[in-house]
């Protein structure tokens, strides 16, 4: 067989622990991200009930049942315990056997239930945490940039430059200290091989691993479903969601950008940003440039 007739998509493993036909929206970024990540996961997958078993008509990253977290924790503990016990039984484990379980969770749940989940991080059993982010927090941000409705009697502070810088800084990093996880990375399903590589690295590292995955949401972000991959690519290429990985505190940017594309290319694809004034957009652009330059400087530091 001629080597040039093999395409990279065909070299990926056929097995994927992804059951088709779930109740996600058309072109759902979360479903796409989970499916691509499952190409690298062979043994165990603990999925937050909100994605696959939800009976709500709306994506559970906007609304979720707090009591579900209890069952998630219970499943996660069981999964970790069982995995470790079975790993001990298998003395001559195959090289393809997965060393640790994977926990897939929405960012909305991750942030709200962080206190409960932090008990998981402290256990001796390690796991890979895949955090799917469809930017639910930006709904409030976009609402703050607009005028108050007439009938609402409240004080709303306008968005300041410091708020924007804080938002951009907090958005692209996990909501915890660097010591909690030995491997931290950001990934996007628009760059599928990068995502698969990071999942494999997260599984093989010692200690807990955290991967923040951007999940473009056609329903929430209001764009045609066929543009999911394009929106993800624009997010990375404009510097809005840079792809990097941190191993033991050493940062490396995995998707190097020679120059950042203008932010307008990303914002114009989604209707949710159409009401944001131009002054805020220019402040966003400055904050993104500042953040990306900061990342580049951190990656070039040697210690």
């Amino acid at each position: 067989m001629d080597i040039s007739s093999v395409y990279v998509s065909q070299l990926l493993p056929k097995a994927e622990r992804f059951i088709p036909g779930q109740r996600s929206c058309k072109g759902c970024g979360k479903a796409l991200a989970t499916r691509i990540a499952s190409k690298a996961i062979s043994d165990m997958l603990v999925i937050h009930a909100g994605i696959y078993a939800s009976t709500l008509p709306v994506c559970p990253s906007r609304t979720y049942d707090p009591y579900e977290t209890e069952s998630l924790l219970q499943h996660a503990y069981e999964a970790m315990h069982v995995q470790t016990a079975s790993a001990l039984q298998r003395a001559g484990a195959k090289l393809s056997a997965q060393p640790k379980p994977v926990i897939v969770i929405n960012r909305h749940v991750f942030q709200h239930e962080y206190l409960a989940l932090s008990s998981l991080f402290a256990t001796e059993h390690h796991a890979l945490y895949l955090c799917l982010d469809n930017e639910h927090y930006l709904n409030e941000f976009v609402a703050r940039t607009g005028p108050l409705p007439l009938v609402v009697n409240e004080v709303r502070h306008p968005v300041s430059e410091a708020d924007i810088r804080l938002l951009i800084h907090e958005k692209n990093s996990p909501p915890c200290s660097d010591d909690t996880f030995s491997y931290i990375a950001t990934a996007c399903p628009s760059f599928p091989f990068d995502l698969i590589e990071k999942v494999r690295k997260g599984l093989s590292c010692n200690g807990n691993a955290f991967i923040l995955v951007l999940a473009p949401c056609p329903t929430g972000w209001i764009f045609p479903p066929r543009f999911t991959k394009q929106v993800g690519r624009a997010a990375v290429q404009t510097g809005y969601f840079p792809l990097y990985e941190k191993t033991q505190g050493k940062l490396q940017i995995t998707q190097q950008l020679e120059k950042l594309f203008p932010l307008h290319q990303y914002l114009s694809l989604q209707r949710r940003f159409f009401t944001v004034p131009a002054t805020i957009i220019s402040q966003l652009q400055d904050a993104i440039t500042h953040y990306y330059n900061d990342l580049v400087r951190q990656s070039q530091e040697r210690f």
């Binding site: 065909q10 097995a15 992804f18 088709p20 062979s42 066929r226 991959k229």
Partner: protein, 105 residues
């Protein structure tokens, strides 16, 4: 495949080459779909890009190496059509487009 529930967490014999059985389609995604992808096998080079990008895992490989969408799973999102770099994929209308849907969606 080991006997028992194939979705159990203790299936330690699962290797990369084993493919999980897909449950039968008791409910279809037909209500979502008003367009479906159609492959032009004269142009298709069987690269598998459409197979990888489908968020519903609706595209499967046939025996002759070309791909097809399982209409029980396909929601007609059009991601595969945009992903195809040879232009072998196109969307064919199967149902009336909802009148409330904007023209460019």
């Amino acid at each position: 495949m080991k006997q028992g529930n194939p979705y159990s967490c203790n299936n330690n014999d699962l290797s990369f080459d084993t493919v999980l059985p897909v449950p039968p389609a008791t409910a279809t995604n037909e209500i979502w779909r008003f367009e479906r992808p159609v492959w032009n096998t004269d142009i298709c080079v069987r690269c598998g890009a459409c197979f990888l990008i489908c968020p519903d895992a609706a595209i499967f490989k046939k025996n002759n190496g070309y791909f097809e969408a399982d209409l029980n799973r396909c929601k007609g999102c059009g991601l595969c059509v945009r992903e195809c770099w040879t232009g072998a994929l196109s969307l064919e209308q199967t149902a009336q487009r909802p009148p409330w849907l904007a023209k460019n969606f």
